[in-house]
Symmetry: C2
Subunit: 201 residues, 2 copies
């Protein structure tokens, strides 16, 4: 069995969102699965000297906002620049970790729903009540989820995962690992597909 594709993402990252809309089908095409790994991009940036694209030099930030939308259109993915951006999404990330343990088959639908809520419907995914609503919409028992993401074990697991990513030198999102090879950015999807198709090049 081929290794899963590791998909490190932040809900606040537009390029992660655009890539997330393509990665399941791409993985399936090459007989792979996707292992979703939430990052805390703020912590990653703090360690690596990065910053949200929209907080950079003015013209670069303006370009980024234009490029988010153009890149989404190019990929055929619906996109609307959220009114609050960037945004924290701790409850949503802890939910991913809890789901992976308790309702693994609901993990990907939940991730896609949170992303769409943020990048299409402009919902405030930093609000745990909104996250709970989204979970309900994709058939998750929200009482169990809400209790679950308060468990120290879930919090610790997310924290440990982020620390590992920082120790591994990750510096942005999406970071996509295929058989040990690191690809950074939605714009590396063609290279990822070739790696899956032909192996290392």
């Amino acid at each position: 069995m081929a290794e899963p594709i590791e998909f490190y993402f932040d809900f606040s990252s537009p390029y992660s969102y655009i890539a997330s809309e393509q990665i399941d089908a791409l993985a399936a095409k090459y007989g792979r699965t996707v292992e979703y790994k939430p990052l805390l991009l703020g912590a990653v940036f703090k360690a690596s000297g990065g910053a949200p694209l929209t907080e950079l030099y003015g013209p670069k930030a303006q370009y980024a906002i234009r490029d988010f939308a153009r890149s989404a259109r190019h990929a055929g993915v619906p996109y609307r620049q959220p009114s609050r951006f960037p945004i924290a999404s701790m409850a949503a990330k802890r939910s991913v970790v809890w789901l992976q343990q308790h309702r693994p088959e609901r993990t990907a639908p939940f991730i896609h729903a949170v992303y769409r809520a943020f990048f299409v419907d402009d919902r405030d995914i930093s609000d745990p009540a909104v996250v709970s609503d989204i979970a309900r919409e994709v058939g998750i028992d929200t009482a169990a989820l809400t209790a679950g993401i308060q468990q120290p074990e879930i919090k610790d697991r997310l924290r440990a995962q982020v620390e590992q990513a920082i120790e591994a030198g990750f510096f942005g999102a999406p970071t996509i690992i295929v058989d040990g090879e690191l690809f950074w950015g939605n714009d590396r999807m063609p290279q990822i597909e070739r790696w899956l198709s032909d192996g290392p090049y």
Copy 2:
């Protein structure tokens, strides 16, 4: 007649090199020409708060070096990481400006030859004597060129062009303008091709 594609580049930029190897054919396919515009990326970074990728956070710099080579292989472009990097290339840039006035049909061959000298043959393109050798190799009268790039008018023209780019808010290379739309990076080539083919999207 459709507008030329404006191609802003620095000889020290690997992604500009990879894009430069594709842009002439892409332009020709859609009935366009390419207008090459040398940038001084150091001055652009100074104004925009950028830095050479290899001078960033260690793991990001290491990734960049790996990605330069992988992106070149993906594009079918020969690549070897130069032993001196990044590098100044004032004589080569002034040569581009002089050629555009005096030997316009030799401009693109010269640019491609300088890039190959740096990114394939590891020649020191910061050395004016090396630039002169490269010019000779592509059939340029080097006596005229060497005198030409000392003219204040050539120096001023390059400087003015870089200042314009900075005023326009450019922040990196390659910066590629198609009908007023700005694309940044070799990885935007598929989006550029779609823009050329289908118009704005």
